[in-house]
Symmetry: C2
Subunit: 218 residues, 2 copies
DNA sequence: TCGTCGCATTGATCTGGATCAATTTCGTCG
DNA sequence: CGACGAAATTGATCCAGATCAATGCGACGA
């Protein structure tokens, strides 16, 4: 198995062995559901390949995408009785599943690991605060640009630095992440492309004017 | 000292004694700053009395309030080099301060405490996801109603259940929390009062029609 | 090759909440 | 009490982004 990214990077060999013994490697087809908001939380997942859409629904169908999980990300950490959001695969996804029991046992036995998970959670919280700023106070163009730069940085931290940002999710997913409509996302992309700020390519976007984009993101 | 709420509830007496020996009781006057976004993170705080406004600023002055801390809440947990947001007192505030060194030592020494802090952080993350749903997908009226019900529940969990929700923060603070303008907040309050859904009283709001409010919050 | 089904784009119009602009209310201090 | 300043309310108007409504455009199977 590929060495788990992020959380396991600082573990000793015996801790890593223990972790791997408890992990169930799992695979999900495109569009398949990892878990559903409100259902009993049976497992925690560590994504090893692919992208996962995390979202909440309102009873009338309005959707808010709360994040996109990339390889290395942990899902379902809240670990109360029920999952707080739904998760499904965008394209093919591989993940390591830990049963709730295995997870809590592991956490109790290895404070070291708990510390890493806590760091991961506080980092997530920081990102959530930035997303609040974005949702509450930024314009459509700023939202799009911050999203593109954010995705580019995340891929870069995973060892895939590139001026071409892969966007495997649909325009609707992006709209629901940024609190916009699909039409506004599409129009804003078109406008940025006319500006020569970006170039729209199949499956993603090429960053053409990073200076201007960074300036807008401030 | 009053027994610290939430995090310390499940600690043994010796752990509690250790915690108290490291805590610096601190007091802040109305409007005083606990810490500022971007500054070096020297302390973690546990609020013991009063309400704290947590917010992020954009370079052009746009503000997003990311939360209001009530007694029992922990601030500055992210504990990277710099604070991720600013915090200042709404009215008089008392808090226990822990130096960064004391905090990390404590966390390393007491996995039990770390587990509690981690639970606290994951709960915060769940609230942050709900706030994203609110900011991205709800109308002004829904935002206001969810905010009022949320504050009511939080006071209730602290042992102050009441149909009158105290609102020590300004309309501007509420607007910046909900991603609205002060005028929209004011108008929406007025409309809800005309509906007899709420009654505006000095320093807060009285919930008159909880059924309708819960229905809107869905 | 063609038809069809999901996206995505583009255009026309509408509207919820923002912005601009006065008041009004309230808390505080001389 | 009366005057001042900060916060809140209310009204008039505007506009960014939503909504409504066609197309466009691959990918895929027959």
């Amino acid at each position: 198995m590929v060495r788990l990214v992020s959380v396991c990077a600082s573990l000793s060999d015996d801790e890593l062995a223990l972790l791997e013994s408890l992990a169930h490697p799992t695979h999900f087809a495109s569009g398949e559901t990892l878990f559903t908001q409100g259902r009993e939380a049976h497992s925690v997942y560590n994504v090893t390949a692919g992208v996962v859409r995390l979202y909440k629904l309102l009873s009338d169908g309005r959707r808010q995408v709360v994040g996109f999980a990339l390889p290395g990300d942990f899902l379902g950490l809240a670990m109360r009785d029920a999952y707080g959001f739904s998760a499904d695969a965008i394209g093919e996804v591989s993940a390591c599943a830990f049963s709730r029991g295995a997870y809590t046992a592991l956490v109790d036995a290895k404070p070291h690991l708990l510390k890493r998970l806590h760091e991961f959670a506080t980092h997530e919280l920081t990102l959530a605060h930035e997303q609040m700023m974005l949702l509450g106070r930024r314009t459509a163009e700023e939202k799009l640009i911050c999203f593109l730069l954010g995705m580019q940085q995340r891929w870069a931290r995973l060892g895939k630095p590139s001026v071409t940002v892969p966007l495997p999710m649909t325009r609707q997913d992006i709209a629901d992440f940024l609190g916009l409509t699909i039409e506004t996302v599409s129009r804003t992309f078109t406008r940025l492309a006319k500006d020569k700020t970006i170039l729209i390519v199949p499956g993603g976007v090429r960053v053409m004017n990073p200076e201007r984009m960074s300036a807008v993101a401030a």
